[in-house]
Amino acid sequence: MQIKTADFGEITIDEASIINFPEGIPAFEECHEYVLINIIEEIPYLYYMQGIGENAPCFAVIDPYYFVASYVPHLSPADVKNLQCSGMEELRFLAIAIIDQDLEKSVMNLKSPLVICPETRKAKQIVLENDDYPLRYPLFVPNGKEE
């Protein structure tokens, strides 16, 4: 199936790879279907998440575990009931990124990750119970002060 992307024209996608957000995502409730596109092979943890449809939204999303290996999202079973996943341990998490003009100031949202069930391909953006994950977590530590 052919879809229009915001940034690189039309691309062909496998229909089986579509992710369905039954409730949309906050601020974009009308768009339910998205595809994840890994743009740069060497960076397997960075994707475009392109909505399907006219003027559909498009986000840069990131696998948070690459940056925060200790990420432990706390969710209630009620939050993920509609994803119809066989177990909480099956769930996959991705963080929406905000790429700043000054790239090093880019952040990702660890407080409300996209929660995806790989078997049913249903997903939802969920505000976590955790108090310690910020909405704007810097991707890069300033001045190269990384441990």
Partner: protein, 79 residues
């Protein structure tokens, strides 16, 4: 900022038609019962912030911007 002390079962009014009642208190959690007209959007603050952040994140990133990001990511290639 206005700070008001209320007991369980008591309410405050915002204007004439929005009522926020303290429904239940247990430990650190407070349950609020909100009575507001249908057109008033009531959101937990985190969800409201997520909403704003999503709007900001819906950016159209040209391929060269993504490649630049990829480069920076690789330079920072952690641990």
């Amino acid at each position: 900022m206005l700070v008001i002390s209320r007991k369980i079962g008591e309410s405050i009014m915002l204007g004439d038609d929005i009522e926020i009642k303290i429904a239940e208190v247990s430990g650190e959690r407070v349950k609020l019962a909100i009575d507001a007209p249908r057109e008033v959007l009531v959101l937990r603050k985190e969800l409201h912030e997520t909403n704003l952040l999503n709007q900001q994140a819906n950016q159209h990133l040209a391929m060269d911007k993504m490649s630049q990001l990829a480069q920076v990511l690789q330079q920072h290639k952690i641990k």
